[in-house]
Amino acid sequence: MPFHIRESSPLHWVLRIISVSALAALAVYIASDSAPSTLGKITEACTLAIAAVSLNLLLGFNGQISLGHSTFVGLAAFTAGYSVNAWHWNPWVSLGVACLVCFVLGLILGLPALRLKGPYLALVTLAVAFVWPTVARKFLDQTVKASTLKGMRLRPPTWTGLSNNRTDRALFLFWLAIVLLVVTYVIVRNIRKSRIGRSLVAVRDNETAAAVMGVNLAITKTVTFGISAALAGVAGWLAAAQLATLDENSFTILSSIKYLLALFLGGAATLAGPVVGAFSYFFADDLLKTNATKWDFLPGPLSKGPVASFLLGVLVIVFVFIAPYGLVGFIKLQARRVAVVIPRPLRAAPLATESTEHISPAVAGEI
């Protein structure tokens, strides 16, 4: 018999505060005790997580697939890199502008998405992802007259007490990445738990019924596309802050696939899924890559280096079979045996009739 926790009861709040504090403590510990290269990796994982969270809003909650998210990430990175280096913009201003540019492109891409569904939408966004490197190449050739664009070099603000050396910059980027990930997460979480969030899921589940309930399909779908693109822009800006150089091959269709894998590995349409998935994917990939150079048990072209990608692919496929709802779905299922969060009861009946407790073991809210 699992332990029952009432939603929003003092115990539930204590548990929430403990889990958030534990995560914060973990971040502080990592920050105090890690080499710049490790911090860099976590920053990269956060970038992936932000992209996956943004894709979750669009695909997980609103049911619109996008294989073009690499383009939003790339566009934001180029916007930031170019405006800071060529026009000497303040990097923080470039974050806002990059997100705005992505929002507008997202709205525009959302228009054909109104008429297209499933595989057709996948195709259109795939085309965008394919065209982007060519456009970026042209831009580099004609505007920068170089093969790469310099990234931004963020200087830690003085109030942080950090200096401008490599170690401190890595530390600053690490904290910045964490903050941006938290902000992105909170935005998507707030949307999901609101009236608009319900309408997004309603549109995904049944468009006709959603429209009859008064949901404006065109606005809901295009604006969601725009917001998702803008959040992907945050990931792109962060990449521009971390990478020394940006070129057209930094953001190809492969990046989009990576966002999708991270999302499904963690669990689409759950709030924590894309974050858990992104970190798991990133560090599984990293672990395999660093170790695979020693492995030669597979024949010919698959041995050594490539075996890492191969194994990761196999792992992801196997995983989707054992845990179709992703890591988060799997963890929730296990956690339910130990403890269940009982949703806040309905308003009591007006004429104090017998008030039954509504406990359905199949359903538990999120902690």
């Binding site: 949307i191 609101s194 049944n206 009859v212 008064g214 349409a269 359903v363």
Partner: protein
Amino acid sequence: MAMLDVRDVSVRFGGIVALDGLSFTIDEGQICGLIGPNGAGKTTMFNVISRIYQATSGRVSFRDTDLLQVPAHGIAKLGIARTFQNLALFPTMTLLENVMVGAHSTGSAGFIRSTLRIGTARAERAVRDDAGDLLRSLHLDHLAFHPAAGLPFGTLKRLEIARALAARPTFLLMDEPASGLTHSEVDELSETIMRIRDEFKLAVLLVEHHMAMVMGISDRVVAMEFGRKIAEGAPAAVQSDERVIAAYLGTTT
């Protein structure tokens, strides 16, 4: 003046004429039965009123509003809600959330306010409380936190009614609410419809093949066949109409 005035409405799908110059009216607070054999065009009429289908010609006015100028998502705000013949629920959502979506048209928080969570708490609580009351009123409260997927058909039919009522409609369209229900459930449904009509001061347009039920609760009945009206009037008169009997020949239950 009638609340709903359907005038000469035709709908064609390629060569098929689903509605052929159909006209009828419904008054405030009235339960109007709409009957006819399979394929008569009843669901098509529902879809014209809820703006899912485009009428080829004709006019529909609802309390001074030209309904055919209103977009599909604007219908709910006018006070029109409906249920679907073949269920159109949100399967991944809980019953409570399904009903809360039903209240979408009564809310106002848009993308910005939802993202920033500014001044949304009170409205959210009210929507949740009302949705809970509606679930209780349709005896679904014990399933409030259960996802809609996988529940019995009869349960989901009641959920559709609860969701439609969440929009606080004044005109409710019900497409075969009794299909798939057992005898005792049908009797209960009749009572429910009369009860919600009085409680919410509704007008109801009821499509149903279950003749005893339609005739039992309707104030007026419109009978149609091949997209045309063949009879109209008090239940008893329509039931004994020769053309209606001919249309239903042997299929009356």
